[in-house]
Symmetry: C2
Subunit: 210 residues, 2 copies
Amino acid sequence: MGKKISMAVIRRLPKYHRYLKELLDKDRKRISSKELSSIIGFTASQIRQDLNNFGGFGQQGYGYNVEELYAEIGKILGLNMDYNTVIIGAGNLGQAIANYSGFEKSGFNIKGLFDINPRLIGLKIRDLEIRDIENLEKFVLENDIEIGVICTPKEKAQEIADVLIRSNIKGIWNFAPVDLTIEDEDIVIENVHLTESLFTLSYLLNEKNK
Amino acid sequence: MGKKISMAVIRRLPKYHRYLKELLDKDRKRISSKELSSIIGFTASQIRQDLNNFGGFGQQGYGYNVEELYAEIGKILGLNMDYNTVIIGAGNLGQAIANYSGFEKSGFNIKGLFDINPRLIGLKIRDLEIRDIENLEKFVLENDIEIGVICTPKEKAQEIADVLIRSNIKGIWNFAPVDLTIEDEDIVIENVHLTESLFTLSYLLNEKNK
DNA sequence: TAGATTGTTAATCGATTAACAATC
DNA sequence: TAGATTGTTAATCGATTAACAATC
């Protein structure tokens, strides 16, 4: 394995991917780190450093081929593959994620939607039936589910995480406002802590008034 | 004004706030940086450094008073105040945010919910009527709205941001997958880029398999 | 008092930026 | 070829960790 890539670099990759897609849609053939810098807001130096963690995608005197770089970053991000996904918690947030077509387009295929509420079980979101959370473990095991999206209240989140872990999930996208405890080092967790994000905005709002 | 607080520190504050709330709910009276470290996962040294950016909240030989520290961090985050808020885009995500009681409890009062879709306009979410986006500018101006939450598709996000800016918004919580352009230095933006978060998970998923 | 633990300075580590030789 | 721009090393900057005197 090569040298460890820092999280700072990793979290910039999706932004490169997004801006390169825009350039591609505008039929741009090539771009220099300097011009990309002016668009994306990172320094040209940082862009070249970031990209060189993964390979020499550019060419001296020319810059980067937009289409090629977009594809390469997609591969680095694992977007050339499909991922079987389940969503646990079919409230507004779970439904919002289930309904967002962008995720499916990127290869995150939602195979199941689960809830504990009997009034929701059986309903359909798009062509996806809401299932009883009792069946989660079996479903994940039998359908090669790799990603579990936790959209439950915080009280249930750890319990659900435990079920997912037992059924050999590979990654958890956690929207509950808790930090999950996961023993297995191979399981990856990505948190979306909305309250923390809102509180950060609140801090900045008040900082400005000083 | 004191020395500039780094974003790294600021983004840890909500996490302190959350864990202190848990301790408070368990009736813990005091805590040392060392024990807090073992719970929250930052080093004790970092915790003391972080807190000392804002004041000497602790006491040698004793540690920190949980209730006092919780209140202090709440004040630093601006959670001792109320914020009039509007949500633009009443799809699943906008509704999810409108329905989440935690935000209201923290002082983020949702005063209006707007959409462009005639089939949604007039419907009620909790006791909040979905209004025509045409009336957004006037509403924000007349109701002292400080925070706008953008939950529209990416194509509309900049346009909505421009309306909000014209009506003297103070902060924008942006869920659309774009980087908004804001001239006014005093307006703060906090992005929740869900796709970037998911792609980061995807990267980590594949990194583990190498 | 003795022990515990902070606040704070100094040391270390890591990430970003600058510089420039290599080369297209 | 001359100009442009990368890949990469070195310098700088900033954040984290360690250490410890102050003090409750």
